[in-house]
Subunit: 460 residues, 4 copies
């Protein structure tokens, strides 16, 4: 296993990482990557054990409702990069199991790579969304054939791939990229049916990043949430990258091309719903704390808005409970969260989130935006005056109240809040995608039977 | 135990039942009470067993999550009057248990009455909401002291009560009325702390009814939902009613006056959430069936609306699952649904219901209102023409399509639909009440801790 | 001109009107048609003037913003049948003007019929929505060629038509039916391009009705809103109806087939938006009055809900003002309401209506459903008791409070309320149709320019 | 009049401006104040005319509906600081007119100051919101008597004031601060009834700022909206500031203390509603342009969401039209926008804004967050690759698409978007305040009359 320091050292490996038009010298020391990297390094140190057989907990498999409940809970304490690694590894295992009958050789390669990854204690991210070009055309029909990642050359010892993968959170600070087809490919699209593992520093890989970390000139204390959960989003380019055969887990078998996206979906849901519940409870907490700090806890419309936030958080927690107690099991006996509940909950979480934030901002008041900085509180020329006028209620210091305003602004509007506003909608494909999947898993026959009954029709 | 016929006969007992300004001669034969009574009689026949020791299943007590789940399911198949009886009996037992320490004599009386009720196999309803007068004043401060039901005379062998109880579903067709205080009474309001069991035909009891059954001149087939679930609402007047001591379960002990309302709340939730889930699934079913009949299942905005109904039904089912798997237990080990989940779910169900109905009507189209009657289909002068023009898709007959339109209209707009539109909101006290209870049971300390964490504040 | 009595007499003309499976002997004396007919007769009497040259005001043409404002106002005082007549007459004039260039003969026929109709002082309704069959197929592609009204025979002196028109409000009590194509017909669909005027009592016309009037056995005072505005919806069947040439205003000219639907849309909007504003204000009024009667005007969540209703009513009134002050003019100089504002307002009115009703019911409370009848108040056995317990606040009698509860229930839930719940959505074609038309009239180029500007892009 | 350069020079006047804990050397050259200052300087140059009698157009008074319409339009082209100046000047005039009867001396002082301000061509901002302390207590009851700005000393030649004013947009770059009481003061609170004009550089004035301008290290092209409309919010401290008598416009006359807040409200609305309409149209434009760039204009759920945005923009424009055509007039004949329409519109705009943004983000997709920078497009190592993979549709370059994504993110999520998200709610006092004012101006008697009518009650 690696220590946090060894992880930091491992990132200085010649990778091509770009930010705001410039090549980054070393991601491990660049401030824009700081929150993710510090968090990931702490994750390494937390679980580090010496010895050759020691492995990280991210490889564990849930086999019961109890396992699943435990995993949901511990996962909330993991760093983002490790969570992503666990998700990818589990997804690859599930996909391997689905291929074993038809493509035993490919399934074996995937399992071998996994064993090796476990020993090397690496972190990886999944790269799935293609550039897509014209969305009304399929992969094989695009003007630019590279709009979806594809094999441009097959050699005796491997393949060469070309294309781009978008919206890849934390890609710049991982060790490997799991490349997967974004959807089912059709006959004739064999070059697009490619799954493989690519080191981030492989020749031809370039990652153009967008960062939501506060800029260097700012005081991080004004961005308490971004400091905890800020990350980078990578635009990953495969500019004719060679992948040796032992790292290729699918090569042209279009009939298995959707296994990976589907398996990944199964495991991604594990984390996201738990995260939404915590997010919602955090918002209730911020609303309650700022109303205490403002002295508005007894104002009827404030109470009503907080109770609305509580209903939101509770409905999400109820669906998490239902998703776990109604777990579904794969043929191998692996427990996965119930698909119907998780998808309905994702839709509910995302579609109501905007109003939840609106109510939090209404509860917070104008100082959500205009509260001075902590540095203004420490400046001898302004400190005592800011303290005097930012104090509203006994028992809550001006500093505490200012920190709460900063947290609300940073957590829900700018900084990581802006990131959250959009990812809440877009993770898993937009509101539309979530409706479709929920509908697919709903027991429509039961509903039709009830409909016939109330209409006095003998069901045909 | 009684048979259905014995139940019908038992209703002709001199009770004073009024409808539209007239005394009803015999509720058992009056058309306005038909759906409830037929359903209740069938319930008697379903469980009838000969012999002295036989008892109805409405008295069973849940002692585990599994019991609770089973009860939720079977209860959906019970008639409304029996469900109400089960709720009242369980509530009385819970309240008796709470009184046992302080008021053993009253607890014993309640248990004795219960034993007797079980043997007599009677049906009862709870009467709780008072007339209330000026809502900004408490019971003891009203201009009219009878605005809340009260004891107007205490005799050696019992008490005389006066007042009214409102919104009492099915009161006219039950055997007994369980009278309970609507809320906590204060010292000085001892006359309002009265709980007792009163036969419907006791002298001085008058029940003024409102009926949602279709009028006699209409064809019941146009009201398929009302025929299944239509009921009457009773305005119950106690015009100086004598109640013998053995039927008085609370008499002036204000400190125990809220036990009954609280216990009743616990048990009422058992049925209502399960009912909401079935209601939501029924609406999904009607939406799907009418879109099949109209030939609109592939129109994007229809699909989108149906998927929205599915999310509603699924979020409700998730909260039912969570309410059961997170059951709470009384000191006696009796399982009750989780209060937080049930209250949040009730709020969600009620506040979204209006939009759910709107979407169903948008899916159905104008014929929801304007579809001809089945009688027009049978009239030789118009039948074949109505059939011709009411057929839209092969595989769905004009009759079926018409029945679906009638069901949607009757189930969600007029008839029982109007009743449902309002009771969905008002059962349990309006949207406001549901917010308050959900807030009370929410783990605010956990939320505050999360809020402090994201704000970078060491929790005080 | 006709008096009200002459109008009543004129309805006994052999017309084939069906209700609940039976032929109606005389609509003028049948209780189900009562509210519409009484209202229409009063309309005749209101404007009656003796003399050959006297004409009703429904034929006036607006030529300025001021005219339009005046028309909007007076129209709110007209009965439904007269409003419908005015709408149809104006629509026919507009369509005639559009045809004049290409089809002068047809335009002339329409104008002649109009002159005659004015002299006869008749009332007419527009019949537009066809049965439609499979909605994914056009008129000419249906399994049943009669799914859209069509010409089945052309004779030297006229045509024979067959088909059905749905959702025709008040058809049973009008004198003539204006038959129009429901949408643009394509080449090859010439038989479906038919516009004509058909007397309700023409041989082959059969109207199957649905009534929302309260049944005869009920007390009309429990349905105060239905008594004012209840109507019937007609399912109009043309079972091979002969139409003489002078009554045919379009016969096969597919390129003009959409003129009628479009002209009708223009004029229908005139009435509907004004009606929505009055409806919204009425709901605010009911909410305020019942909260006064209940004594809840100072409860914060009640005040908040009423203020929400006020915003709804005000936004609708604003759009009515904008629709008038931004009137559009036809080539003839006839003023019509602005299409963008009216369509956006219709969408807003319809999509928010469900929540408006929900809030009204939440404000009203359970007695919205369960308030006793006025007959119970008059019954000596119950009257004083019902009065005693239905009184909440000084200054509002029990009778007044009961009437308000009945009005809320009848106006917004059952009776005419059910009708309103659905027609609010479906008039003009469902939420989807209203979105489409609003989008069509929006100034997208202006919006794109603003978008380019904020993006720092020089507009291409 | 001043030129832009003279304005810039005038700011280097010793004012005490703080940002992130540090005193700003010269606001005119500090990057954080750049967008507001550049915009304001351009505003000076735009209207500059030489000569002593030349004055800026911000002092014009509307006397008719046409004037008001013209003002609404031109104001959209003014810079924020000039708009604020115009609002403040008009508000002061209105207040002066209200005081003239009772306090002629104070009214005269205000008019004199105005004349002088016009000649000096200065820019000013209104400071109104106090620190407030415990919100459940009035100004005179606070633990800290300075929680509301007050007079701490009265001298022969003026007064000394102490306190703070919050949320003062652009305060740091204005010349003078108009200090006004935030609400009606009561007898005994004479020291809080203070209105006066204070130069920004007066001794004792300290302004602590929060900036939403992008940090210096960032490329402004990634923040195209912030570059146009970004501003600073000032926390203005009056640390015992002397104000000479000729600048004091109210001094202890509590009965006139609310005149200023009320007059300010009247004039603020003039700008805000016009701004909301433009904001809404801009959002429609961005949605349309990004869907064109993504190739999703024909996807049904995208079309539906855009049509929803159109309804929002149109309802706002309708209320602007109604607010102008229904203008109200002061006794002086000055036209002001209709209060009912503007307040209902503000509530609608603010309460729906969250969903509007949600739909825009759903339309935009994940690249709203993750689109690379323009600098990445210009970097030779990544430029052609980013261009290749960021191109989706012919006719829209990668650069254009990237700029649109940046604009959406910056305009609606982080940067000025975060500012807008909160100010949309908080300007004018939160959702609650807007409900209250709308309710106050609604014609409730008309609504009650309609309610009585539909209930069949003769209005008392």
């Amino acid at each position: 296993m690696l220590t946090g320091q060894q992880y930091l050292d491992s990132l200085n490996d010649g990778r091509k990482i770009y930010l705001r038009g410039e090549l980054v010298d070393n991601v491990a020391t660049h401030p824009a990557f700081r929150p993710t990297i510090e968090d990931a390094a702490a994750g390494y140190d937390r679980y580090f054990q010496p010895g050759e057989d020691a492995t990280a907990p991210y490889y564990a498999v849930s086999r019961s409702v109890e396992d699943l409940r435990e995993l949901e809970e511990v996962q909330l304490t993991w760093d983002m990069l490790s969570t992503s690694t666990a998700t990818g590894i589990n997804a690859l295992m599930t996909a391997a199991s689905r291929m074993r009958g038809d493509l035993p050789e490919y399934a074996d390669r995937a399992m071998k790579w996994l064993e090796d990854a476990k020993k090397r204690d690496i972190r990886c991210v999944q790269t799935i969304t293609d550039a897509k070009g014209d969305r009304s055309l399929s992969a094989g029909k695009q003007d630019d054939p590279d709009a979806y990642v594809r094999i441009v050359e097959r050699r005796s010892d491997g393949v060469v791939i070309r294309g781009a993968k978008l919206h890849i959170t934390s890609a710049a600070v991982a060790h490997e990229l799991l490349v997967m087809p974004t959807k089912r490919m059709k006959p004739g699209e064999e070059d697009y049916a490619i799954t493989c593992a690519v080191p981030v520093n492989a020749p031809g890989v370039k990652i153009v990043n967008v960062s939501y970390a506060p800029p260097a000139e700012h005081d991080w204390r004004e961005y308490p949430a971004s400091a905890l959960i800020g990350t980078t989003e990578g635009f990953v380019i495969f500019d004719d990258v060679f992948v040796p055969t032992e790292r290729v887990f699918l090569d042209g078998q279009t009939e298995h091309s959707a296994d990976f996206a589907h398996s990944l979906g199964l495991w991604e849901r594990l984390g996201s719903l738990g995260h939404y519940v915590e997010l919602a409870d955090t918002i209730v907490g911020l609303a309650q704390l700022i109303s205490e700090a403002n002295g508005t806890t007894k104002i009827p419309h404030i109470k009503e808005k907080i109770s609305g936030l509580i209903v939101y958080a509770t409905m999400l927690r109820a669906s998490l409970e239902a998703a776990i107690s109604g777990a579904m099991f794969t043929p191998e006996g692996w427990a996965t969260p119930n698909e119907l509940y998780t998808n309905a909950a994702k839709f509910y979480a995302a579609s109501e989130y905007a109003n939840v934030i609106r109510d939090l901002h209404d509860i917070g008041g104008g100082s959500t935006l205009t509260a001075p900085a902590l540095a203004d509180l420490e400046n001898p020329e302004t400190g005592s005056l800011v303290a005097k006028y930012m104090t509203a209620m006994p028992g809550v210091s001006a500093e505490q109240r200012i920190r709460l305003f900063h947290a609300i602004r940073d957590f829900t509007a700018d900084g990581v809040g802006a990131w959250q506003l959009v990812t809440m909608l877009q993770a898993g494909g937009g509101l539309y995608a979530q409706r479709v999947v929920a509908t697919k898993h709903y027991d429509m026959e039961h509903a039709r039977t009830l409909g016939f009954k109330v209409a006095g029709i003998t069901a045909p």
